[in-house]
């Protein structure tokens, strides 16, 4: 269960984004990196439902910040409460102020924040993230 000691060669990933096209782009790029075990959700609340139904939580969570119903910031708090120990990458199309706020909140709650980026996440950046985790 501890991702520190059991890093799989090919990680399982969950993509949380309210925009279907953003999810499609990420899923295609992950597939191109050989990552086919990808769950998706369209906001924080549905992501929590998907997480609860999983026997093993995903190794990596790629999460949008601004989403309806439960946004990325609230979702980060819920993840921290549930002691999620996988890696988190934040992505957003909104301004850098909001992104840095989200970053501070995630880090302040003890989540393993791998990075935070403005959308869209480029292929090279994704590959680098996957290689360094």
């Amino acid at each position: 269960m501890n991702p520190h000691t059991s890093h799989k060669l090919i990680p399982s990933v969950m993509v949380v984004d309210d925009d279907a096209f953003s999810r499609d782009v990420l899923q295609e790029m992950l597939a191109a990196q050989g990552i086919l075990d990808v769950q998706t959700a369209d906001n924080g609340r549905s992501a929590l439902r998907v997480l609860e139904a999983m026997t093993t939580p995903p190794d990596l969570l790629i999460c949008d910040v601004f989403m309806p119903d439960m946004d990325g910031i609230e979702f980060m708090s819920e993840l921290a409460k549930r002691q999620y120990r996988g890696d988190v990458v934040l992505v957003t199309g909104v301004d850098v102020e909001t992104l840095s706020l989200a970053r501070e909140i995630a880090a302040g709650q003890g989540l393993r924040l791998l990075g935070s980026f403005t959308k869209p996440l480029h292929r090279e950046v994704l590959a680098q993230l996957l290689a360094t985790r």
Partner: protein, 180 residues
Amino acid sequence: MQGEAERCRAAGMDDYLSKPLRLQDLRPMLAKWLPNPASPPPQQPPEAPQTSPAAVAPGEPPVWDSLALSEIVGTNLAMQQRLLAKYLVSARAQAASLHRAAQAQDTPTVTGLAHTLKSASRTVGAMALGALCQQLEAAGAADDGPLCTTLGAQVPAAFMQAETKIAAALRFPVSTPVGS
């Protein structure tokens, strides 16, 4: 909570948000209080003529930058075609919704839809539509209903221009299956 907000303002605070902090509340407040060079002040008359002679043509974003998507996802042609086809379907629906919300001057909905369509359009290289969506997002965040209506009226044509270029590229790809 109402009383708390009033007390804060009476004590000289600029504004007030209650916990838990929600981005949908924080965003309009950031837009209200932070200087935003991307959006002109709303009181500036929109029909003010551009005095600089070189102001229009060189800075104008292209209808479709066919290389934009490969910069993001790589040069896999089949993947690009799948994504472009998906973009056309989702962007068509979003452009229609955005147009309707802008006509109704539903500024919160305009802000959200314009934001989503902006980032998808820029990802695939539909730069002119992306730029229009950025203006709409700013107008929505500033709660400028009339400007939303004016800009929103341009959305259907901007989408169709992008769609025409992208669809033409999809119809004549290097390796398209016959009859698809």
